[in-house]
Amino acid sequence: MAGLSDFVLPITLVGILGYGIFKGVDVFGEFLTGAKEGLTTVVNIVPAIIALMTCVGMFKASGALDGIVWLFSPVAAALQLPQEVVPLAILRPISGSGALVIYNDILATHGPDSFIGRVASVIEGSSETTFYTIAVYYGAVKVSKTRYTLSASLSADLVGFVMSAFMVRMIFGF
C-alpha cells in the first residue's frame, strides 16, 4: 500500500495537466493565476494561525491541556480513541486553523508514523469545520431555524472520529 500511495500525487498532477492540454487550456498561465489565488488564501489564514498558535501554545504550556485530556480520558477510552487526540477532536468541528495548529503539534510531539500521529492524521483528513460550514451556508440564505442539521453533522463527526482510530488499528495493526 505504501508503494502504491506514492503514485497518487504525481499521477494526479500529470493527469490534470494532461487533461487541461487535451481540452486546450493554457495550463501554465492558468496554473500561475491559481497559484496567485493560493497566496491570497495563505495571507488570509496566517493571522488566524498566529492567534490560535499563541493561545493553544499558552494553553499547552500552562498544563491546562493536560487537564482537558485527563478530564475526557474516560470518554476517549470508551470510544477506543487515544486520549492525546481528544483536543483535536474537540476543536476540529469549531475551528479549522485551531485544529491545524493542534494537529501539527501532535505530529511534532508523537511523530507522524506513531499510532497517535496516524489517528490524528486520519481525523484531520476525514472531517470538516462543521460549525463554520453551517454558519456560512445557512447565513448566505438567511435561514435561522436549521432544525436537525447540527445534530446530524455532529453525529457524523463523532462516528468519523471513532472510525479513524478503528481503521488505523485495522490497517496498521496497532
Binding site: 493560493g38 500552562s62 498544563g63 485551531g98 511523530g111 507522524p112 486520519v122 435561514v143 432544525r147 468519523g160
Partner: protein
C-alpha cells in the same frame, strides 16, 4: 464564537499557569508562538499555491462538470423530489465534485449558489428544508479524495510515508458521511410525521 475561544484559552492558561507555577513556560509560549505560526504558514504556502494552481487548471478544463455528471444518479437518490435538471441539483453536483477534488475555494461559492436555489424552492423561508439539511450535512463531512495538506504536514514532520493514511481516511470519511445521510433521513422522517400530526389536528 472564535473571540470566546481566543480569550478563554488565554485566560484559562493564565489561571493554570499561575496555579501550577508554570508561568515561565506560558510566558515563553507567548514570545515564541507568533514566529512558529509564521513558520507553519510558510510550510503550508508552497503546497497551497501549488494545488490552487493545479485545481485552477482542472476547473478551466471543466473537470468539475465531467465529474458532476457521474454524480447525478447519486444526487437523485439523496434529494428525493428534486428534479435532476433543476438549477439546484446542478449546483449541488458541481459543489460535491469540487469538494471531492479538494477545491475549497470553488466549492463554497458553488455551495452558496445551491443553497440559494434550494431557498427559492423553499419560498425563502427562515426554516431549513430537508434538502437544505441534507446538503449542508454533506458539506460538513469531508469529501476530499487527496488530503494534500495532511500529506505535507506529515512529510514535514519526517513521516516515512506521508500518503499512507489515505485508505483509512477514505473509510473514516465514508462512515461519517453515511452516518450523516442516515441521520438526515431518520430525523426528517420523524419530524415529518410530527408535522403531519399537527396538520391533522388543525
Amino acid at each position: 464564537m472564535m473571540k470566546w475561544i481566543f480569550f478563554g484559552l488565554c485566560a484559562i492558561s493564565l489561571l493554570f499557569g499561575a496555579g501550577l507555577g508554570r508561568m515561565g513556560e506560558v510566558s515563553s509560549a507567548v514570545i515564541t508562538s507568533g514566529g512558529e505560526a509564521i513558520q507553519l504558514g510558510l510550510t503550508l504556502a508552497g503546497a497551497i499555491c501549488l494545488w490552487s494552481g493545479v485545481m485552477r487548471v482542472a476547473s478551466q478544463a471543466k473537470l468539475t462538470e465531467q465529474i458532476s455528471r457521474l454524480f447525478s444518479p447519486f444526487i437523485r437518490l439523496l434529494f428525493k423530489g428534486l428534479s435532476p435538471k433543476s438549477e439546484a441539483a446542478q449546483a449541488i453536483c458541481l459543489n460535491i465534485s469540487a469538494n471531492l477534488l479538494g477545491l475549497g475555494n470553488a466549492a463554497t461559492p458553488l455551495g452558496i449558489a445551491a443553497m440559494s436555489k434550494l431557498s427559492e424552492l423553499n419560498g425563502h423561508s427562515d426554516t431549513a428544508s430537508d434538502h437544505m439539511c441534507m446538503f449542508v450535512v454533506l458539506n460538513t463531512a469531508s469529501l476530499q479524495i487527496i488530503p494534500t495538506t495532511i500529506a505535507l504536514l506529515r512529510a514535514n514532520a519526517g513521516s516515512a510515508s506521508p500518503m499512507e493514511i489515505m485508505p483509512a481516511s477514505w473509510a473514516a470519511s465514508s462512515a461519517s458521511i453515511l452516518t450523516g445521510i442516515l441521520m438526515v433521513k431518520l430525523l426528517s422522517s420523524l419530524r415529518g410525521r410530527k408535522g403531519s400530526l399537527l396538520y391533522g389536528r388543525a
